[in-house]
């Protein structure tokens, strides 16, 4: 297996799927001539030409709808949001069109579109540019949502998303683009949606998370290990479909749970998972499920405040100690 960056993994996924299927094209702001605001589409314009790697005007609502419409009639568009923060302008086409067309048409129109881009906070981009929005997307039936946290997952899940016949939103991490990791080269390497992965085995407590936060969780687990606590880290990878079996399995194994996400708590992913666990594994819980999220405020610009606002390994360790009653 080659060691490549998360960015390169996404780039490979796009290139391979575009090679494989002429109906796949990439559209968004700066994806072509500029090679992508975060260079994810580097070289694709040269390779595939400007009908398949398309620079758009800054019109999120318009080109998102274009992707949905093109998908209705058989293309497999990959629509890039420069970041999901800008997708607020486009959600009508995602939630009122993409999510509902199959149902409203009585099954006649599939919408195999992929929406992708970075989610969450990078460094000091302040309130409007630092939002982790997967929780908003996952709320709407008809949409599928994946959140790769490693290069291998990025490649395997993006390929799966593009091949899937439903609208799939791929939430990437701006801070992950330079992350290196081993990635299978096989052209048919695909990670099926709905499969979580245990990123670290452990027996004392379960830390369940997704995306960028798996690295925070692993960091916390390392700290806890020094302290004699053996934490299991479960990476959900896919939020809808959700690997409930994997969640229940780790709960049954450790009986103690800390949930971690990058976004806000009210209506967050962790809220639904906590509700689900207490409903389906009530008797396996030796302590209440605790949650770690970002501070429930708009992200401030100041370096120190931002750092405090973000969920950290310290926060996780503290909650783990609480569920362990230590």
């Amino acid at each position: 297996m080659a060691v490549i960056t998360y960015r390169e993994a996404l780039n490979q996924a796009l290139a391979e799927e575009m090679e494989r299927d002429p109906d796949v094209f990439l559209m968004g702001e700066e994806v072509g001539v500029y090679n992508g605001a975060y260079k994810v589409s580097k070289g694709l314009l040269d390779k595939f030409g400007d009908m398949r790697v398309v620079d758009t005007p800054i019109t999120e609502l318009g080109f998102s709808g274009l992707g949905v419409g093109a998908a209705m009639v058989g293309l497999r568009p990959v629509i890039e949001f420069m970041t999901f923060n800008f997708s607020f302008l486009a959600v009508d086409q995602v939630f009122n069109a993409a999510a509902k067309l199959l149902s409203m048409s009585g099954g006649q129109f599939k919408v195999p579109v992929t929406f992708r881009g970075p989610t969450g906070a990078a460094l000091q981009l302040s309130a409007q540019h630092s939002q982790a929005l997967e929780a908003m997307y996952v709320h709407f039936p008809g949409i599928k949502v994946v959140v790769p946290g490693t290069p291998a997952d990025a490649k395997g899940l993006l390929k799966a998303a593009i091949r899937d016949d439903d609208p799939v939103c791929v939430f990437e991490g701006e801070m992950l683009y330079n992350l290196k990791g081993e990635v299978p080269e096989a052209n048919d390497f695909v990670i099926p949606l709905g499969k979580a992965e245990v990123k670290r085995e452990g027996g004392d407590v379960s830390i369940i998370t997704h995306g960028k936060m798996i690295h925070v969780a692993l960091q916390a687990a390392a700290t806890l290990e020094k302290d004699g606590v053996d934490a299991e880290v479960v990476d959900l990878r896919s939020l809808r479909p959700l690997d409930v079996d994997a969640i229940l399995a780790t709960v049954v194994k450790t009986n103690r749970v800390v949930l971690l996400e990058e976004g806000w708590p009210y209506g967050g992913i962790t809220a639904t998972i906590a509700a689900l666990i207490q409903e389906e594994a009530f008797d396996h819980l030796d302590a209440p499920i605790l949650r770690v999220t970002q501070a429930d405020v708009p992200m401030p610009y100041a370096k120190g405040l931002e750092k405090t606002a973000k969920p950290s390994a310290e926060h996780v360790v503290e909650k783990v100690n609480r569920v362990l009653y230590r």
Partner: protein
């Protein structure tokens, strides 16, 4: 007329100039002739107006308008009896627009519109019984009873719906036009919208991309002068919708939406241009709604007077066309009545069919939500299954 007079900017030429703004020529805007509108509708003899169309086609247009009218009268009846629920927007008075416009298309072309769509659906080939069953919310409906009045679809007929968000269908139609260009097909995408949707950002974002990429999109604005209770002049700072195309260097035209042949003539020119790679066109069809906005809205009262409606009804597109066909001896009064009896019968039968069609069963609730359900993990979180 405007369409021909309005010239577009040639992108290639524009892009090839590399000197920056000062070198880019300003494309022509619509003509300033205050007579523009009459100019837009040339003064043609009765014979000329038929453009040499076959007797059959001319009769079919009449038939289609009659069917649309009678089908919707039946719909109103069924709605009053509580057989149909939800929002229901009738097209009575506007028939010439969609029927004239769609007659200018080939079978392989696409159509999409808003929620005032029954006639568009029928014209694209949805069986009256399937349309009525949809209104009744039955399994034999063209959307299996899941869409209703606002969301009819027919994949086999390239009828792409039926959309409820004002302006929402425009970016979707842009995507279909994109697909035609992408696959280098010679089809055309025709999208209909109400004049009030012109104010939505989606309209402007889409027209810009359609013109920028010269996509085969024909945008038909059905200007019936009201968005619910809001008169167009209270919602737009510029009355002339066709002129808005000049902001996109896009050809535009005005059609008399109460005259099916003018509607056909104007649309055909735009469709031919789109098919031959000439890019998009904006058409403003001036029409009028003889009924309320929806079943719950009175025909007149708050926002328009009885007199206004009565006066506009003198322009009934069916009567106007019937007189023309009679004068040209293409369709006699008797033949017209025969036709009418036939379409009434079809509407009647459609209602009987719908009445007999079963309601979708409970398992349907979780069908058609996802195309690929057979995945690992959980898709539904309501704990019901």
């Amino acid at each position: 007329m405007m369409m021909s007079e309005t010239q577009t900017t040639d992108k290639k030429e524009q892009d090839s100039e590399n000197g920056g703004p000062r070198d880019h020529p300003s494309p022509a805007a619509p003509p300033q002739d205050p007579e523009w509108e009459r100019a837009a509708k040339p003064n043609l003899s009765k014979e000329e107006r038929t453009m040499g169309l076959s007797k059959e086609k001319l009769r079919k247009m009449m038939y289609d308008m009659l069917l649309g009218r009678r089908f919707e009268e039946k719909t109103a009846e069924a709605y009053a009896l509580g057989k149909i629920g939800g929002f229901c927007h009738l097209y009575i008075g506007q028939e010439a627009v969609a029927i004239g416009g769609i007659h200018a298309l080939e079978k392989s072309d696409y159509v999409m519109t808003a929620y005032r769509e029954h006639v568009h659906a029928l014209q694209m080939g949805v069986e009256p019984r399937a349309a009525m069953a949809e209104l009744f919310g039955r399994i034999d409906g063209c959307s299996k009873g899941k869409g209703g009045s606002m969301h009819m679809f027919s994949a086999e007929n390239n009828y792409l719906g039926g959309h409820g968000i004002v302006g929402g269908q425009i970016p979707l139609a842009l995507g279909v036009a994109w697909k035609i260009r992408y696959r280098q097909e010679d089809h055309v995408m025709q999208v209909y919208l109400g004049e009030a949707a012109v104010n939505q950002g989606a309209f402007h974002e889409s027209l810009n991309m359609a013109a920028l990429w010269q996509l085969p999109l024909v945008v038909i604005v059905e200007n019936n002068r009201f968005g619910m209770g809001t008169a167009w002049e209270r919602a737009s700072s510029l009355y002339d919708i066709s002129q808005k195309a000049s902001a996109y260097a896009m050809p535009a035209a005005i059609a008399d939406g109460m005259d099916i042949l003018d509607m056909y003539r104007v649309t055909k020119e735009a469709v031919d241009r789109a098919r031959s790679g000439g890019g998009p066109t904006l058409i403003e069809a001036r029409t009028y709604r003889f009924v309320g906005h929806s079943m719950s809205d009175p025909v007149h009262g708050v926002y328009r007077t009885k007199e206004e409606v009565e006066e506009e009804k003198l322009n009934d597109p069916i009567r106007i066309y019937a007189n023309l066909l009679a004068d040209l001896e293409i369709l006699s009064q008797d033949e017209l009545e025969e036709m009418d009896t036939e379409v009434k019968k079809i509407s009647e039968e459609a209602a009987e069919f719908a009445e007999k069609s079963p309601e979708p069963e409970t398992p349907e609730l979780y069908r058609d939500v996802y195309a690929e359900e057979d995945v690992a993990g959980r898709l539904y979180f309501d704990g019901r299954r």
